[in-house]
Symmetry: C2
Subunit: 168 residues, 2 copies
């Protein structure tokens, strides 16, 4: 878990640039990297481009930000292992608990050290590894969204052109 | 279920305008209403604004389109009952089964007649009613995404300013 503590400004800037360059919808959503530390990766988004018919945040946007926080967290978790990876999502379960009425942030906490280490070991051995991550979005001090997703990371050098699962 | 068959062009145009006006991200995603009949409501989106880092469709965009297809379907299901309703999502479960490499469509089939009738009856009696709906997105003939969501519709005349659940 210590790998997660305080990635450099350069790493976080790269992550934000990668999101904006490779997933154009993140620009439309105004997604930004807020911070990363031992509590996890935090992504933020402005309310205005993500409004719904109730003038609160569109559930799809909340879900997207939570998904991206997990996706970004995996990028940070593997960044020291020197591998170019592709991360895809296989399954998600989301609870929408409360409306979000302001700009919002999604936080994805790092997995326990043992899970993180096993994930890196599998990636090394098999060239791919599965990881279940969570993310939450708060609103006025309460949990507004609880996201749980199954992700798979592939070592690009060993799985070029694969057609498994899908996408983040 | 017969209420679903062939809504007028005006109804579908209204639905598309509502989506674009009230959920601005649908414009960024290029969401359009394709058709509605006894098979369900079909929404479409272009690949270009919804790309991910693999040059396939971003999972968040796929999830959004499926969510919106269910949301729109509920609008069509209640349109003959003369009520102004607000539809929110409470929970979703999504399986990402295959990458999507082209423009894509989400179809949300209407619920069985008995479920539809019970839903309208509860909306009449209680002013709110829950409905579980599904949506799928296909790619090259296979199911690429399978979405299941719990939605709640509120009669606006009876639940003004409510702060339950969240958002679509």
């Amino acid at each position: 878990m210590n790998q997660m503590i305080a990635p450099t400004l350069e790493t976080l800037t790269d992550l934000q640039q990668t999101l904006h360059a490779e997933i154009p919808l993140t620009r439309a959503m105004g997604v930004r990297v807020v911070r990363a530390d031992h509590n996890g990766l935090v992504l933020g988004a402005a309310l205005a481009p993500n409004l719904n018919h109730k003038q609160t945040a569109f559930g799809g946007s909340l879900n997207n930000l939570a998904t991206l926080a997990c996706w970004g967290l995996i990028q940070l978790l593997v960044r020291d292992c020197g591998r170019a990876i592709t991360v895809v999502i296989q399954e998600s379960h989301v609870q929408f608990l409360k409306p979000v009425t302001q700009d919002f942030e999604a936080i994805s906490p790092p997995p326990p050290s043992a899970i993180h280490e096993k994930f890196l070991r599998m990636l090394e051995r098999k060239g791919r590894a599965r990881l279940e991550l969570e993310a939450t979005i708060h609103s006025d001090g309460d949990v507004a969204l609880r996201f749980r997703g199954q992700f798979v990371a592939y070592d690009r050098a060993r799985f070029q052109g694969f057609e498994s699962a899908a996408v983040v």
